[in-house]
Symmetry: C2
Subunit: 339 residues, 2 copies
């Protein structure tokens, strides 16, 4: 579910913030790519095959980019950020593999999900492999504090996923519970991805906290936009199945907001399609309609914008440079990508 | 699939080596139990519920016992071994949860497997949670080298499981491939469980290598016996489904050995039940019969005994003490438990 950035934009076209950041971090990212390829290697052929399928599937590596750019913004002169960035991407990839098993997904970034191609068993096991390899990368990076930050994030992600699973079908999930779920399942890794750069650069607690906030807030914005787009958003080409959350009976913010102001009829509808999981033809379209009627897409986007602004502001304690500018712009882009 | 030790043997009965080791390490183990309980805690109720179900299911914690006893044998005076022992058990538990999903198991230690009770999704996610928590425990233990050893083991386990998956149904799997599979999926964690004690006790490379060998060899013996018992062995009460490997078309050593000397008829039989997975009533009994005819159970047990002896001998470079004695006896017990 990474930001969809076309790398091959025609000359003359304006580039977006994610592309500009990717260009800026080009050299670092090539090293991270090499590390990723190297560390997903195994004498067991199915492992690199499956891992490759997923890593190649077009994610734009927004999380490792955040690690790389943060380290550069701080003027960090070592190279531990390369290993940590690769580790972050491995955790993310492992999570995707397991999510697809958990959600019984059909598509991932517009391609058949790995569990559809190879089955659940290899997806579970290759996820475990990448997870283990991510920790080996962190060990190589040599910072116990960075290890603490990322292993804690991994534990919080799993908690968030279980919480989301338990909440599926519950139309009384509050906006606060929803926020707790996305903070855990998505924002925690973004937060750690940014924070670890402050850790290896040996920065003050305040600076590390600012990086954590930047990552967390951009992560929240990212997930809110994602959840909005799952209801069609502004018809963006997502490379994912629109309506996935609906079919999985997940109460995301658009639904939670629509539920807050639901008429009796509408509540009955949500009760049937979400709580009883009794979904019929045309129900998704009706859900979209109700959500739009209540302005829940706009409100979700607005919430995302607030988080993006908070993310940008969190960087204010750092001196200006191109990296800080690019990270700030990335926060806005996460929201603006819908247009 | 831990060693089945009855804690409540009637007085007067002889105790076995696993029980003696458990008594010896009683105080340390209570601390590890407390850590395990604490670290599986989560505000998301399903997590401790499911983790508890598995941890309580009667495993005798043979792996963490090895970590604890090795540290004591070395006279290590810190307390990092407690966290590492808990981490080892978490990795093991996470692996069991994911294995049950991968194998579509029905029973685990005589109880319904977690995936049967709660479904695959929570089993995958709680496995991930425990895995992440194991790394947090290792971070708390404070040794990057121990982290390296255990994260490498975790990666090797996943590789072994994928290799086993890919080999399922292949009647041409050699004895060497089988050995590579069990060394990865089982022995690697035993090896790391022993080795980390040498690492935190700051021992020489030779001593750390001896501990690694001890763990690896006892792990190989353990798995060989397990694979033998899956074909009925000497009718031991295993708390698992006899015939699981057969039903999953796994070519374990008893089958590989029977295949080496198979008549044309027998080869045809294995071809049908393992390669084509066409299993009918009475096939498991026929498999047992063929295996016994070729002396493959005895040969498997004999192979296990060789590994157990190597394990005991690996300890010879350490000075004698009760812990060394108990670890040596444990190696023999792993084999003798079948009688």
């Amino acid at each position: 579910m990474d930001i969809s950035v076309k790398a091959d934009k025609s000359a003359g076209q304006e580039t977006n913030a994610a592309e500009r950041l990717a260009s800026l971090a080009w050299d670092d990212m090539r090293e991270v790519d090499a590390l990723i390829l190297e560390r997903m290697g195994s004498p067991v052929p199915l492992i690199p095959k499956l891992a490759h399928y997923l890593v190649e599937a077009g994610g734009k590596r927004i999380r490792p980019l955040i690690t790389l750019a943060s380290a550069r913004m701080l003027g960090y002169e070592g190279d531990a950020q390369l290993k940590l960035a690769a580790a972050v991407e491995f955790i993310h990839t492992a999570t995707l593999l397991h999510d697809d098993v958990v959600d019984e997904s059909g598509l991932r970034r517009g391609k058949k999900a790995a569990n559809v191609v190879w089955g659940n068993a290899p997806s579970v096991l290759v996820g475990d492999f990448l997870f283990a390899r991510s920790f080996m990368l962190m060990v190589d990076a040599g910072s116990l504090s960075a290890l603490h930050s990322l292993s804690r994030a991994a534990s919080i992600i799993a908690e968030g996923e279980v919480r989301q699973l338990a909440a599926a079908g519950d139309i009384d999930v509050s906006v606060e519970s929803y926020r707790a779920i996305i903070e855990a399942k998505t924002a925690a890794l973004f937060a750690a991805a940014a924070e670890v750069s402050g850790i290896i650069a040996d920065r003050s607690e305040a600076e590390i906290a600012a990086l954590d906030t930047y990552g967390r807030e951009i992560g929240l914005a990212f997930q809110l936009v994602d959840d909005m787009l799952d209801y069609g958003g502004f018809d963006a080409d997502l490379g994912k199945n629109t309506g996935d959350d609906f079919r999985e009976s997940k109460v995301t913010l658009p639904v939670a907001l629509a539920l807050e102001n639901a008429t009796a009829d509408e509540r009955e509808f949500w009760e049937r399609v979400i709580a009883q999981k009794d979904q019929r033809e045309g129900d998704f379209e009706r859900a979209q309609e109700i959500i739009v009627t209540h302005g829940a897409l706009d409100a979700t986007l607005e919430a995302a914008r607030v988080h993006a602004t908070t993310a940008r502001e969190a960087l204010s304690i750092f001196p200006d440079n191109v990296w800080k500018q690019a990270l700030g712009d990335l926060a806005d882009f996460v929201v603006d990508r819908v247009y």
